[in-house]
Symmetry: C2
Subunit: 211 residues, 2 copies
């Protein structure tokens, strides 16, 4: 039996359709990573409030073109454009270690397309890893509601292979093998520092740096 | 003999006057810290290009109010305001250590007013120091053209004393005693990582952490 919904759409379809719309709200605050970004920010607030880690999202860089200075009030930006960040979006410190990461979402169900990363983000993470930082990517499969933390050293392998004509994506199976699944909790929403603890432990055994 | 300059001003005075004017250019890109900021960014580029350190200035946070989406072109920000950052302006990694700092300028010649810092910046640095980060402030006496790097642990002492009714500024003499003068070079303009090396060495001896 076909159900006729008031607005002619199945509620679930309507929900998905609205997520794809470039509404001002989603496009301003969000890009694709909206909900994942909120989840990470929420988790970082939790860690900060409990003195566990100090990790912040960097503001989005803006190219200013025109700014008004009304008398007796704050400067108003009248024309500006979003710029592409030259680094990853998040960094900070945890257990004395420099932490640096980015967060990406895909609606794919079987693999994560590497084109979600910009070369400068990969280069930035390479520089940080070379300095002894802990770098990784959050990868969220939105339709599956699965979140993984993939160490940057693993990501580099796939990136370099793709660069040499190899596969342009990482399969979910490979992400499940090399990454850490971050299961949702109440508080913090994404308890990802547990995975960072494992990365630190694995580093001590030379597991990731051997790759 | 009095020289009559074309615009009625001594060139040197004119130069200083123009630095104080809230022209769009200075106010947008600059605040007071304009030239010091450029000097630091320049030094960071030098360190990055030579794989010595990865330290970046964070973008200024913006509160978006209105954004237009013209067809087939980039989003245009039509109304937005500058927000106060919740952290310091610079962070990154050097020799495996998390680095975090802010940069302040004063035109005073004898002391640096503590009101140049916001409480949230001090709190942020305390959190980072507690996590094992290396935090400090660049303090530039613009009229003297002197730049100092003052370890955050020293700054906290003066901040807390001021909080308890003590002096609301740090004398230049004290900054010279506790801080590291960063002497200008050609490249990098401010070779401040030498001072960071000394902080790391002093840490190993427990000098600053004992304070």
């Amino acid at each position: 039996m076909k159900i006729h919904y008031p607005n002619g759409q199945h509620p679930q379809q309507a929900y998905h359709a609205s997520r794809d719309l470039p509404t001002p709200h989603r496009s301003i605050y969000a890009k694709r990573g909206m909900s994942l970004e909120d989840e990470i920010n929420h988790s970082n607030q939790y860690y900060l409030a409990r003195h566990i880690a100090v990790i912040h999202k960097k503001p989005t860089p803006i190219q200013l073109v025109k700014v008004d200075y009304p008398k007796r009030s704050a400067a108003v930006i009248r024309e500006a454009y979003f710029r592409r960040p030259s680094t990853t979006d998040y960094n900070g410190i945890y257990r004395g270690r420099y932490i640096d990461f980015d967060a990406k979402e895909t609606r794919n169900r079987r693999s994560f397309p590497l084109k979600n990363f910009h070369p400068h983000q990969i280069n930035h993470m390479r520089e940080c890893v070379n300095q002894g930082g802990i770098c990784f990517a959050f990868i969220k499969f939105t339709d599956l509601d699965l979140v993984y933390l993939l160490p940057a050293t693993i990501l580099f392998n796939y990136w370099d292979e793709a660069d040499q004509g190899g596969r342009k994506s990482i399969t979910l199976t490979d992400i499940q093998h090399w990454g850490f699944q971050i299961e949702y909790q109440l508080n913090p929403r994404l308890p990802y520092l547990k995975a960072v603890d494992q990365i630190i432990a694995a580093e001590h055994k030379g597991v990731y740096h051997d790759k």
